[in-house]
Each structure stands twice: as structure tokens, then as C-alpha cells.
Amino acid sequence: MAEHRLKPLCPLGGTSPARASIGPVTLTEVVDVALASVSARLGRTAEVAASAAAAGIPLPGPGRFEARAPFAAFWLSPDSWMVEAPFATHEDSRAALLPVFGDAASITEQTDAWVRIDVTGEGLPALFERLCNVDLATAQEGAATRTILEHMGVYVVKRGAAQVSVIGARSSAAALWHALDTAAHSVF
């Protein structure tokens, strides 16, 4: 077999995940999570829910995120979820989920389609009210939704009072980072 000397790059182009601190908030590029979307096939929602419960995979309701070890998931659309798992142990996320759901769900590997930027620290509502429609001040922990952030469609997941994940298209990773970085500099 040919020997490949390829260097893996992060979504933002660096050899290690990007990180920046602006006032009280920190932007961190998260690369240790594998993603896969799970969509129940027509008329098989109950079957998918039962399989997920047996395997300990959370399938939260609309607009929600739920974490269990090792899987976490957020709601995408009716009968459809994005499932997260640690990259180190579940790099081939589709293969990990296929035995659970069989042909009751369509499972698509999504890891390399997205960039995830975690925003942590105090004062996040002040930052996000400048960026998107999500009202972080009133949103409960575990709220997850898709919305627009500077013309880009992104998922915004509130993992805790001081931790929010912004998951956007990898092709516009740099633009997303720029948007968050610029807004943070204007607030803090």
C-alpha cells in the first residue's frame, strides 16, 4: 500500500483547532465530535424511538438537545436528528449507528460537512442578540435550533448557561468565525 504523508487539517485550515479569547468569551473550534444524521423512514418513527431508547441514544423533541454518554443528539426536523459521538471512538459514525436502527432510519455521515465553534463565557445573550434570532436569555438549557447568522444557516445549541455551540457549513467556516469574532469584539 502506498504510504500517505497527509496532514489532517481542521475546518478553519489550521493544524490544530482555532481558539480565541475576547473579553469574557472564548471561541473554540471543536473537532473531536463525529456527526451523523438519523431520519426515520416513513411510518417507522415508533420503531426508531424504541431502538434508540434500547441503545441509550437520546432523540429529543422539537427544538431540543440532549446528551448522554457516549451519544448526544439535537432535533433537526420532524422525525430527523443529528447524533453526536466522540470522534476518537466513533469516527465512522454511520457504522456505529447502523446496527442500532437497521433499515428503519436513513443514516448519513455528517462529520466533515460542518464546523463547530463553541462560544463559552459570561454575557453570551448580549453577543448572540447581535448575531441571530435566538433569544439566549430566555432559551432553556438544551435548546437547539437552526437559524440565520449573517446569511448563513447554522444550528445554535445551548449546552449550558455559559456554553453555546454554533454549527455551520464547513465551506463557510472562516466567514462564521469572522462573524462571531467581529461581534464579540464589538460587544466586549
Binding site: G63, S77, P78, N133, T147, I148, G153
Partner: protein
């Protein structure tokens, strides 16, 4: 304008795309007798009511669901929002 999404609650209209009259759900059978005339009517003839209008909206920057929104074209008041999937199924259109 705010559209009260049946699953996600009130969402800004910025996240939606407008398609048109909800009558587009009633696509005629292309193999039926006189399909040419029915398709002409389906494609070109639209009601333009001053008042309640049922229209299709797409939550493109959200959960990507299609909605049937009942909107008053005189006041822009939205009186009803349903999932287009449910509307189509109720009419025997989809599975």
C-alpha cells in the same frame, strides 16, 4: 412579520421563503382525460383574493418544513398555520 410555526413556535419571517397559493398542493393527474386543460388552469389561473388567502411558506432557514399559512391580504393578519404535510395527507395527496 412573525409566523407561528406549529412545531417551533413564533419565528421571524426572515427565516421563511414564500411559494404561493396553497392550491398548488392539488396537482392534477397528468395522465387523466383532459390533462392539458386542467394543467393550464393549475399553472396559470390563480385567485387573487382581498381577504383570507391560504399560501405555502417554506421554513428554509429553520427545520425546512412546508407550511400552509392562512393570511389576510388586507391586514397581513395570520389566522392559521398548518404543516403542509398534514394538509396534503388530509386531502389524500401524500402518504
Amino acid at each position: 412579520m412573525i409566523i407561528n410555526h406549529p412545531i417551533l413556535g413564533p419565528r421571524d419571517s426572515q427565516e421563511f421563503v414564500y411559494l404561493g397559493d396553497a392550491a398548488l398542493i392539488d396537482r392534477p393527474d397528468g395522465l387523466a382525460e383532459g390533462a392539458l386543460d386542467t394543467f393550464h388552469d393549475y399553472l396559470y389561473l390563480r385567485d387573487n383574493p382581498a381577504g383570507l388567502h391560504r399560501e405555502l411558506w417554506y421554513h428554509e432557514q429553520g427545520d425546512r418544513s412546508w407550511l400552509v399559512v392562512t393570511r389576510n391580504t388586507l391586514t397581513h393578519e395570520i389566522t392559521q398555520v398548518e404543516l403542509a404535510r398534514d394538509v396534503a395527507r388530509a386531502r389524500g395527496r401524500s402518504k
